[in-house]
């Protein structure tokens, strides 16, 4: 399977996926860390993270997939939502809570 197919499969088979640097427990970048905190602040504790530092093909491939140059990237039900700035703005105006409501525990 090529990288684009792998990414498509990952984001469609899992409802909430964050492509990030490091893991949710040990983020390797401030922006990734902020994204994890914002998702958790919406009550979502179970979500899939993909560490792009573990695979150079995925690290480049995810930028091509969304046509978005930076990481982290959040996907919900297969749809690209945005990076950490967008998550912060959506959290501030309540959109992120609404979007993630059904996945909150």
């Amino acid at each position: 399977m090529d990288t684009q197919q792998l990414i498509k499969q990952t984001v469609t088979e899992n409802p909430v996926v964050l492509y990030m640097k490091g893991s949710a427990q040990f983020p390797q970048c401030g922006f990734s860390s902020r994204a994890v905190q914002l998702i958790k602040a919406c009550g979502v504790n179970k979500f899939v993270t993909v560490d792009v530092l573990a695979d150079p093909l995925v690290r480049q491939g995810i930028k091509d997939y969304a046509n978005w140059p930076t990481i982290p990237q959040l996907y919900v039900k297969g749809e690209f939502i945005g990076g950490s700035d967008i998550l912060a703005e959506m959290y501030q105006n309540g959109e992120l809570q609404t979007l993630l409501q059904e996945f909150a525990v």
Partner: protein
């Protein structure tokens, strides 16, 4: 080194804004952008619009990094100001 005022002018030159505020230290900038062009667009597409305007200056590293604090329509901006 590029100033916040210059970054503001770069954005304003490519995007019709009703409110535009840029702060920054010469490397990392923070922009609040209010424009009619955002109507009916998702946040991700609003951010794409802003980044597109300064894309060349991001790629050549004249602007090292731009965080977009807010990208709102005039209506959203007014409501929020209360």
């Amino acid at each position: 080194m590029v100033t916040a005022e210059q970054v503001k002018q770069y954005i304003a030159a490519g995007l019709d804004c009703t409110h535009l505020d840029v702060e920054g230290d010469g490397h990392h900038f923070y922009a609040t952008v209010v424009s009619d062009a955002f109507s009916g667009k998702r946040l991700v597409d609003r951010h794409r619009l802003i980044k597109e305007v300064i894309k060349a200056r991001l790629l050549n590293n004249e602007i090292h990094a731009l965080s977009i604090v807010k990208a709102q329509t005039p209506d959203e901006w007014r409501q929020q100001q209360g």
